[in-house]
C-alpha cells in the first residue's frame, strides 16, 4: 500500500501533569522509559516536516512541564510548521509566555473543566481554575489566537450555557465543547462520566443555539459522546492517513490512544527507526490503512471511505478485537455492548458514581525539573 502524506503531528512531549482529570485519555499504565531529549524531539520535528507535516500540536500531559518547550517551538517554526500549544495553562507565567511567543508560537488551545471554580477544581483534582483564567487573559494580551476546550461529561454538561458565557467573556476565537471520548482514564471512569440521554439532547440544543447566536464571533464546535451516535466517528480521517503521534518515550502511533488500547500491536520507536520508514513501512501504520483490513459489515458498506469503520481503539476496548467494526455503528454485530452500557447508565438516574483521579506516571526525566507542581 502506498502511504499518503501526513499533515499533522501530535507531539506528546510528557505525560507529567499537575492536573488529575479523571477523563484524561493518557494511558493508565506507562513504562519506566526516559522521555525523549530536546535533540531527539528536534530530529522528530525535522523528519516530520520532511514527510509533509504542516502542523504540530504540543501536548501531553502538560507540555509546559518541559523547560525546553520554547526550544521545541523554535525548532518547529524553523521547519516551517504551524505550532499549536495544547495546555492546561498551569505554569504559563509572563516569562514563559514571552519565551513561547518569541519562539514563534502560533496558537494556544486552553482546557477548562467548568466555568465554576469549585466544580472545575474538583474535576481537575487541583486548584487550577483561577490560574486558567489568568492564562487566558495573558494569551489574549499577547494576541496569540486562543481556542478554549471544555471537556464535557455527566458532572458538568448541565452548565453548558455558563461555559459558553465564559468563552465569550474571555474573547476566545474558537470553543470546543467536546464530550469525553472513552480512552485511557476516561474508559476506566466511563460510568461516572457518560451523560444521560436527556442531558445529551438538551446540551445539543443549547450548543446549536449558541452556534447560531455567536456566528461570525466565536466558532463553536460541539462533539457528541459517540456512544449516543448511530454511526461511528471518522476517526483520524482513517488510520495512517493524515495524522501521527509521537508519545513521550518516542513511540510513533497512528493515534494517541493506540499504545494502550491495542496491546497486540507493536509500535516502532523513533530511537531505533527513522520516522519516514515508520510512517510508510511499519506494520502498525499499515495494519488498518485503507479498506483491505475491513471485515463485514464495513467491507461492503457505502460509508467505508467516509467513516473508515470508526475507531480502532474503541473496537479494541469494547470487543477485544481492533480489526472489527466500531461497536458504536448501528450495523455492528457488537452494538448491543454499547446499548447495554447506555441502558445501565441511564437507569442510575441522578446518582452519579465516583471516579478515580488520574495519577502521574513514573517517567524518568533527564536534566528537567517539573515546574508546574509548585502552582
Amino acid at each position: 500500500m502506498i502511504a499518503p502524506r501526513p499533515y499533522a503531528l501530535l507531539a506528546e512531549i510528557t505525560y507529567r501533569c499537575p492536573l488529575h482529570c479523571p477523563y484524561c485519555s493518557n494511558p493508565t499504565q506507562t513504562g519506566n522509559d526516559q522521555e525523549l531529549t530536546t535533540d531527539e524531539w528536534t530530529r522528530v520535528i525535522r523528519e516530520a516536516a520532511a514527510l509533509g507535516v504542516l502542523q504540530i500540536g504540543f501536548s501531553g500531559g502538560e507540555p509546559l512541564a518541559r523547560r525546553d518547550l520554547p526550544d521545541l517551538v523554535r525548532a518547529a517554526r524553523q521547519a516551517n510548521l504551524y505550532t499549536n500549544l495544547i495546555t492546561s495553562g498551569i505554569g504559563l507565567d509572563d516569562d514563559r509566555l514571552g519565551a513561547l511567543r518569541d519562539a514563534g508560537l502560533d496558537s494556544v488551545q486552553l482546557s477548562f473543566q467548568s466555568d465554576n471554580t469549585d466544580l472545575a477544581d474538583e474535576i481537575a483534582g487541583s486548584r487550577a481554575h483561577r490560574h486558567k483564567l489568568d492564562a487566558a487573559a495573558k494569551i489574549r494580551a499577547v494576541r496569540i489566537p486562543l481556542s478554549l476546550n471544555f471537556v464535557i461529561h455527566r458532572r458538568n454538561i448541565d452548565r453548558l450555557p455558563q461555559m459558553i458565557a465564559l468563552a465569550e467573556s474571555l474573547q476566545a476565537e474558537r470553543v470546543e465543547l467536546a464530550n469525553v471520548q472513552f480512552y485511557g482514564w476516561a474508559f476506566l471512569n466511563r460510568a461516572a462520566l457518560l451523560p444521560t440521554r436527556e442531558q445529551v439532547v438538551r446540551a445539543r440544543e443549547i450548543a446549536t443555539a449558541a452556534k447560531t447566536r455567536l456566528a461570525g464571533k466565536i466558532d463553536i464546535f460541539y462533539v457528541l459522546p459517540d456512544y449516543y451516535e448511530k454511526r461511528p466517528k471518522p476517526c483520524l480521517a482513517g488510520w495512517g492517513q493524515r495524522y501521527l503521534t509521537v508519545n513521550p518515550i518516542g513511540e510513533v502511533l497512528p493515534c494517541p490512544t493506540a499504545s494502550s488500547a491495542i496491546p497486540d500491536l507493536r509500535f516502532e520507536n523513533i530511537r531505533s527507526r527513522a520516522l519516514d520508514w515508520i510512517w510508510r513501512e511499519s506494520e502498525s501504520f499499515n495494519r488498518f490503512r485503507g479498506t483491505e483490513w475491513m471485515p463485514e459489515p464495513c467491507r461492503s458498506c457505502p460509508q467505508r471511505e467516509i467513516d473508515f469503520g470508526g475507531c480502532r481503539c474503541q473496537a479494541a476496548l469494547l470487543t477485544g478485537n481492533a480489526a472489527t467494526t466500531d461497536p458504536v455503528c448501528e450495523l455492528s454485530p457488537n452494538r448491543a455492548r454499547v446499548d447495554a452500557v447506555l441502558r445501565e447508565l441511564n437507569s442510575l438516574g441522578d446518582n452519579a458514581l465516583d471516579w478515580t483521579y488520574r495519577v502521574n506516571p513514573k517517567v524518568v526525566t533527564v536534566s528537567e525539573t517539573a515546574v508546574s507542581a509548585r502552582r
Binding site: 502524506r5 516551517n80 496558537s107
Partner: protein, 94 residues
C-alpha cells in the same frame, strides 16, 4: 454564485493567526491556521498572496494584467474566493 457585499474598495488581509506558505511537497500555496490546513489552487494562491493592503479592485486589476484578460471576467471569481475565505475567517476585510 457571487458572494454578496464585497466592495471593490475593501482591503482584504490574512486574519490573525493565519499564515500563507508554500507547501514543499506540492509547491502550492497553503493557508495554515489553528488546527487546520487549506490547500489553495493556483488562482486562490494568486489572490491570497496579494492580500497585502491592496483593495479588491486593485487585486482584480493586477491579476487581469498578469493573466491578460478583461478584469470583468475575473471579478466574480475573485469575489467568490474572497467571500469563501472570509466565511472561513481566514481573511478579514478592512
Amino acid at each position: 454564485m457571487q458572494a454578496p457585499g464585497i466592495a471593490g474598495s475593501a482591503q482584504p488581509k490574512l486574519a490573525g493567526g493565519v499564515r500563507l506558505q508554500t507547501d514543499s511537497k506540492t509547491g502550492n500555496g497553503v493557508l495554515l491556521f489553528p488546527e487546520g490546513v487549506l490547500e489553495l489552487n493556483e488562482t486562490a494562491q494568486d489572490i491570497v498572496s496579494r492580500c497585502d493592503g491592496r483593495t479588491v479592485g486593485e487585486i482584480i486589476q493586477t491579476l487581469a494584467e498578469e493573466y491578460d484578460v478583461d478584469p470583468e471576467m475575473l471579478r466574480a471569481d475573485v469575489q467568490e474566493t474572497l467571500g469563501d475565505l472570509q466565511h472561513r475567517k481566514l481573511i478579514e476585510l478592512v
